[in-house]
Amino acid sequence: MGQKIQKVLVANRGEIAVRVMRTCRELGISTVAVFSEADRTAAHVLFADEAYCVGPPPSRQSYLDQGRIIDAARRSKADAIHPGYGFLSENPSFVRACEKAGLTFIGPPASAMEAMGEKTRARANMARAGVPVVPGTTEPLQSVDAARAFAEKIGYPVMLKAAGGGGGKGMRRVNGSPELDSAWRAAKSESLNAFGNDAVYLEKLIERPRHIEIQVFADAHGTCIHLNERECSAQRRHQKVVEEAPSPIVDRPMREAMGQVAIKAAKAVGYHGAGTVEFLVDAQRNFYFLEMNTRLQVEHPITEWTTGLDLVAWQIKVAEGMKLPLDRPLAPRGHAIEARIYAEDPAQGFLPSPGRIRQLGAPSGHFVRDDSGVYSGYTVSSHYDPMISKLSVWAHSRSEAIARLGRALDEYVVTGITTNISYLRSILRHPAFAAGSYDTEFLEREHPTLALAKKSETLTLPAVLAAVVVAEQRDRRRTSANPRLDGSGSISPWRQVSRRRRPRV
């Protein structure tokens, strides 16, 4: 720390690797990509100044292999590593490995990650610092009887949660005592599989909560500020789908109160760099600490839109030891919304649809940003997350932002694979979304309306007419081509027709 970074290795792939490298390039910093054997021609490899293969397609043997990534940093003479999100971004042992190798890790100290990584420890730390947490246990529960006694004390419904991690794994809703035994077993075995740790704890269930998070930023000189909230209640199985800033329900006093609590949380663990404090908000707008993500978030562009800042540039500057250029919060300007575009089929239970993208036409125009990790001719691999892009827009007001994102989604053409674009379009059209009154159960509750919406029929007639034109051209092309050279194995009825027209020899 304390000197200018010259060359950054981005220990990630896809859109976030490209996004980080874009800022590096603007700052005059050289960029190094790492890639698995499945990603030789991925967008981040094409974008980078240098690229190193770090192993076979499975993440464990490549993007999660600390030794190989540190080795690539050594070979490329990079002086810093940016972890992006996911993969090694919240792994304190990787931070220590970077430090040991003399590399600057662009992110928080390992100690802050540890303090926030284990959920019951984070809850205890936060409660001690005076941050409101959802009523529940501060220690992992020793037995199902202890769980039952505690649940009866705070009252059902309750939530059993994995102590070892988040993301909805190892989580069970329990409506009453009879459900507790099976929920206990399920939460424990799921936690063990997902995090290698079967510890679970218990919280009071907040009905129909909203998920609102605060972006914080701290430098190594004791300054910590917040950059307002992001509303992330449009989620499916705890995966965010659409995010917006500001939140439709947060006013200035609430923003300031949440911001101060988030700063308190970050300071309590000696945080520096970019971080996000997530809160659950109940119907009375009481907010409770949920967890802290000790990295750059997927949805950071909406904060960039409404503050005019480049959060990756700030991360790099903080890692270089510079002071934050601001010491007071910035009021959010206008409204931004982001939609995550996935290669998946909402009508088939969100089944991933990997495959080759034949044509990709991304939208553009005023105040539209597309953070993409794919291109025409790119094959979406089944090895990694099926998110292919994040489309975000800015406008003066929320309703204009919704209209703009809708327009941009209509412009987005992806052929060859199935995407969730029309599903995202249905979310924007939904009256509850338009009114800003939705919670974390909104997408599940409205699933049939959103995912199985009938295709609009206004395009059917034009499709028939277009098909006739295309078929006419096809048939003329086929008639003039030598039918013997069309490559198919068997003699098709079509070929028989063509053959009959040809003079016999």
Partner: protein, 168 residues
Amino acid sequence: MRYHATIDGKQYTAEIENLENGRFAITLDGRRYEVDAAPAKNGALSILIDQRSYCVRCEEEEGDEMVLYLGNQPFRVDIANEQRFRLRAGLAKVSLHGSQVVVAPMPGKVIRVLVGLGDEVKENQGLVVVEAMKMENELKSPKAGKVVELLAQEGNAVEKNAKLLVVE
């Protein structure tokens, strides 16, 4: 030239007249449309239908089938000219003796099975609905007969050309 098209389970018959220079006149359901087609960016076709503008892309062309995109909306289309359409009907008649295997025309998911094993079915009766790329395709019986094998199960994913049932 006359064309027979099936889109989203509905059948259409249209007459097309090539007026040269990318201009066409198409008659559909008694209405005449002026259509102008011109190759545009990245292999797409710009089509003006009575001056309304559409960006059209044709992909996965195979035999009489294709996937047509109007903007970002996909349509699975089966379309054949009169001659080919008659030939298909003729071939279907010729091979109607004996058992008929109904296969999945594309990879997708069986969303409904409309008949049971042993059912008597009429020609053109709907048998199975397969969904692919958000489009439902009802597969019809090639002949009148009896369902003697039934492999399709609701909810199952099927590969292209997977055997779904046999009518005898």
